[in-house]
Symmetry: C2
Subunit: 167 residues, 2 copies
Amino acid sequence: MLSSDLTVTPAYPLGPPLIGALLRMPADAVRARMIAGLHAAGFTDLVPAHLAVLRFPGPEDRRPSEIAAEAGMTKQAMNYLLGQMQQLGYLVRDDDPVDQRFKRIRLTQRGHAVARAIRTTIAEVEAELEEQLGAARFDQLRQLLIELNATPVVRGGLGSQAHGQGG
Amino acid sequence: MLSSDLTVTPAYPLGPPLIGALLRMPADAVRARMIAGLHAAGFTDLVPAHLAVLRFPGPEDRRPSEIAAEAGMTKQAMNYLLGQMQQLGYLVRDDDPVDQRFKRIRLTQRGHAVARAIRTTIAEVEAELEEQLGAARFDQLRQLLIELNATPVVRGGLGSQAHGQGG
DNA sequence: GAGCGAGGGTAAAGCGACTTGACGACCGTA
DNA sequence: TACGGTCGTCAAGTCGCTTTACCCTCGCTC
């Protein structure tokens, strides 16, 4: 490495790390861990975009539009991802038995295996964090994040159109 | 495959909100607020992708590759964004006075105004959160996030295959 | 029943953010 | 002065997502 004595890092007016960076960096890290975990578990045909399908409650027994809204994308984009994952054998799009307009996403065996792999990875990450921060502080952090997610800043921040309930 | 079970399956095996969702949702919300704040401040020609340039320490007096690595993208992609922002009058790419191989990003007046607008928005968000959670709990949250960002999970989580840290 | 509006799912075209690949410019070292 | 090693840049291609448009089904009204 050259850069020699040019390492002058003058005092930027920004100062301390801001809430945006503090939230973004661990979120990205966890996301990367999820992808790495999926690949390590043998699901090498999944790419980061597919996480939009697999996020929080999971797609099981839910409708494409619903998942799309919570992922913050159009139903067409979500449907594209669903088509990919169906072709890869992770899920099927069943007709809703009650209302024929709707579809219901059903995970296959392989799809459930993916969901389990994700939960395993997350549990792994949480265990590491619990070890790093200590159980008490980690629980504290999780509780504060739950409270944070309940604030209007988070609940209403994404949906200026105000229909995304952000599950 | 017409499944006859009309019973809804409310109890997902996922259970409580996991650390991934707990971090991702507020991070996305803050990101959306930053864009909205920039647009409200009159910088309507900036798109979410430009935030990669403006994130944490800011691009002032730094090198394109450096910013790219921290943003987790290739230098070509970063250079593309820098070119856009230069054309829009937010920054210039100066030659490094010491080493002619390097470039140094310099914010223009307009660029500094953008940086100020971002800081204003972040301060706004932080003030709202402080009001929602209370000053004590918000400080607690920020402190815990700082500790979280210091863990190997975040600091080295991305570098399983690559060496680019942060992102 | 038949007609109408509304909403969900799907298909096709286009855009934009980002990647891979290749190349000239420049520095440190020998 | 010739040689690796980077940095920044140009060009081409990929992929995720949006926009636009269409078809189908349901609830409502007649």
